[in-house]
Amino acid sequence: MVEKNELLKMASIAKLKMTEEEAETIVKKFNVVLGTASLFNELDLEDVEPSYNINSVTNVMREDIPKESFEREIMLANAPEKLYGCIKVSKIIE
């Protein structure tokens, strides 16, 4: 069972704001959904390989041949804030 506090911690990791009340309202649903994983306990999965690509496709690679990049104006057209050809964010001190 996941506790409310755990949920609040997850929210902060996912960069989401959540009040205690909001956590309260979803914690039950959260546990219902995740709780269904206990069904797997019935299965012997020891020797089963995890599936990565469902069609077992492997080795999709491209040749190392350059193609033209997008124009900067186009790539920055959606930027909420930009400056000097760059994306602008809050000051970060390293």
């Binding site: 990791i13 041949i65 350059p66 990049s69 790539m75 400056l83 760059c86 994306i87």
Partner: protein, 476 residues
Amino acid sequence: MNFETIIGLEVHAELKTKTKAFCSCINEFGGEVNTNCCPVCMGYPGALPVLNKKLVEYAVRAGLALNCEISLFSKTDRKNYFYPDLPKAFQISQYDIPLCKNGSLKIEVDGKEKVIGITRIHIEEDAGKMLHGTESEDYSLVDFNRSGVPLIEIVSEPDLRSPLEARLYLEKLKGILEYLEISDCKMQEGSLRCDANISVRPVGQKEFGVKTEIKNMNSLKALQRALEYEEERHKRILTEGGTIVQETRRWDEAKGITVSMRTKGQADDYRYFPEPDLVPIVLEKEWIESIRKDLPELPDEKRKRFVKEYGIPEYDASILTLTKELSNFFEACAKGHKNPKAVSNWVMGEVLRVMKEKDIELKELNIKPQSLGRLIDLVDEGVLSNTGAKQVFEEMYKTGEEPEVLVDRLGLRQISDEGAIIELVKKVLEENQKSVEDYKKGKTNALGYLVGQCMKASKGKANPQLINKILKDLLS
């Protein structure tokens, strides 16, 4: 209390493929900001990655050169964390099944060979670059040109026992990557980056001490200095009965200290899981073998060959083969040369000295290996004295002129005409009867004095070996 130091290194090398790891944008250092970008490397919604084959090939090349097992089956994983330079908010990397594992690298410490284990080599992508303004500016800027540039991360076992060993390991590793021609390995530009984990423990203790991770070391020297500082810091804290805090620390080159970093951009847990937009990498043995067959000669092999082919000492050979450039320079000069040992002395002496003093790369040194070869010939032929040759060498890298021209322009040609030297010696003997008598009485020191006087009389241009011989002849 006596302590033992434990160090492990994580080295990131940017690979010099033509294109980025997962899109076809150019992989290029510098360039105007945000011009080598597309929806894939800027993490646009709906854009998908496609793996660059060259990245896998280069990583396998590194793996083979570092004696790794190459995984016939591997996959990519997502490493999730938020940071403005990471456009998808995850880095495509490899988690539990790296491309290469269980390798090793030999270093030489105090003349003894030591094997350092390599835990793994995996492929991943680089992040963009944060540009920080001046203090008065209240913003930072992001440039995504570097976003998606292919990297390999090479993780060593905690087998290094001193900052010097760490440096030797990195130096050797850097050399190998350069030999393989897969990375520029420029620490200043960041195409080779090294993080170090260091801990100390009382001698005899089995468990490792608490470690700290050190970042931001931009040269081999900085790595050694930072680790020396950190080693002392750990020892001091432990001696004083304190405890080490497990943390990431940043090397401040200017102040010569490490400082604790706040853990920005570091998640509590990276929540790795298999990258669903890419498919597993399954390699065929034949392909791996074909890469192995095409591996260039590596430093260790080259060192052995130099000893055998050129008859130079093991020590010389190990210095000369550290970087591909230097080894090529030596070989171009020594091949067909009558005196390879002299070539080795010159390369290890003057060439390295000048490079170090001027802080320049070999290719910036304006000297062709053939020209150096001929300079050494001039010494061997008695045309130039050793000191004269050094003067010529100085001029050569300044002006790029040939040694033959410089000998005369600098007036350094030695007098090797025996008749002229006999006359000169006779005159000196006449003027220094006292010394002649002393010598004949058995004071051998007098000979040196007389040689000196002869050199002086010739204004330094006489061949000292010839003077010696003639003096002895005339005095006997």
